[in-house]
């Protein structure tokens, strides 16, 4: 780590490689290799190093999360979605993973992905007992885009969901942030049209 702090990446990497040869189950050394790649801005190498680590330590949630974040930074949304799928499988009741999966699906775009996004925003709302503002907003945005697609049958459940989410958002703003209530109400009204 001293080499890392000095920015002497090659020496640091060599040391960790030696450590790994002596003890292949050293999680710390794997992670430091990822950190070295990231510090140099070599995200491709960071991904490879993380994948190597996850081959052995596949239950490490922090690692999957880190991998997802790197994929997002590189705009590789499908791969990021895969990471969040793994996290959802590991921890089904954690609203964060549902929320992040929904955000990635929305970013990917397209009807099918937006429908998936809406489902996962809804489950994030359920798991967070309606407290998570991002999932409420996300649901409204999905519904707004989906309802604007022409040639589709009226999606009543979607409209109802959007209305419910909107009213929860407006209630929250009126309670805790009244100076923005008018702005947000106007924003939500525009999404419903």
């Amino acid at each position: 780590m001293l080499y890392e702090a000095k920015g002497q990446w090659q020496q640091a990497e060599t040391k960790y490689q030696t450590l790994l040869e002596l003890q292949p189950s050293d999680a710390f050394a794997y992670k430091r290799k990822v950190a070295i790649a990231k510090a140099q801005g070599n995200l491709g190498a960071a991904i490879e190093a993380l994948k190597q680590y996850l081959d052995t330590f596949m239950a490490d949630q922090e690692a999957w999360r880190e991998l997802a974040e790197i994929y997002i930074a590189l705009q590789k949304y499908s791969q990021a979605a895969f990471c969040y799928e793994e996290l959802i499988l590991m921890e089904t009741a954690n609203a964060t993973w549902h929320l992040m999966y929904a955000e990635v699906q929305y970013t990917l775009g397209g009807l099918e992905n937006l429908r998936i996004a809406r489902k996962y925003y809804a489950s994030a709302i359920k798991l967070s007992a309606g407290k998570n503002l991002r999932s409420l907003y996300g649901l409204c945005m999905c519904s707004a885009v989906l309802s604007q697609t022409k040639g589709r049958a009226k999606d009543e459940e979607g409209t109802e969901l959007q209305s419910l989410a909107s009213s929860v958002i407006m209630k929250k703003y009126k309670e805790k942030c009244p100076n923005k209530a008018r702005l947000v109400t106007s924003f939500l009204e525009k999404q419903k049209l």
Binding site: E69, A73, E103, R134, K172
Partner: protein
Amino acid sequence: MVGKYEIGAKAYLKAVLHAAKYKTCAVNGLLIGRVKGDGLDNFSLQILECVPLFHNHLALLPMLEVALLQVEEHFSTVDGGLQIVGYYHANERFDDFELNAVARKIGDHIIRYCPQAVILMLDHKQLAALPKSGSRKPVMQLYMRDVSRVWKQGGTTAELVFQDTTTNNLLEAYMADGRQRLVVDFDEHLDDISKDWMNRALFD
């Protein structure tokens, strides 16, 4: 493209303090102001305000869209009507001066509504050198999009200037004071609705 680019103290300070608050993250935000003169020749772009947006997952779309719509609506009623005139971005790493791909994409989107829009990239080296250099120039690199739709640095023909030349002194004073801790971005507002992304109380 021939234009004049000016940045007001409030906008500049919010942007740089935002980056200073989240030293280990990439951050971004919107630049608000007005353009005088039509077309792409002989215009004057004033950046008067700024809304810090995110310090996490900058490349995700949904909350960015929510922010864009709310910011646009809010500022259309302020000061005779202001618009989104640009975007600022600070890279995660100290030695990374590349114009980020996400920055380019968001810039492309903003330029559809404001043809003279700019991207400002924070220059970490200039910021770090500020106490010694005493520079009276913004610690930012200006990018504008040329006719071939490529984002290029402004260079000497298109320079960003302060409206108030003492802005960097103010910045140093605020940073010494630790004022960056009080900056609120849209990310924080989404996590705690009572936090004000307009940062109205920041300079009190």
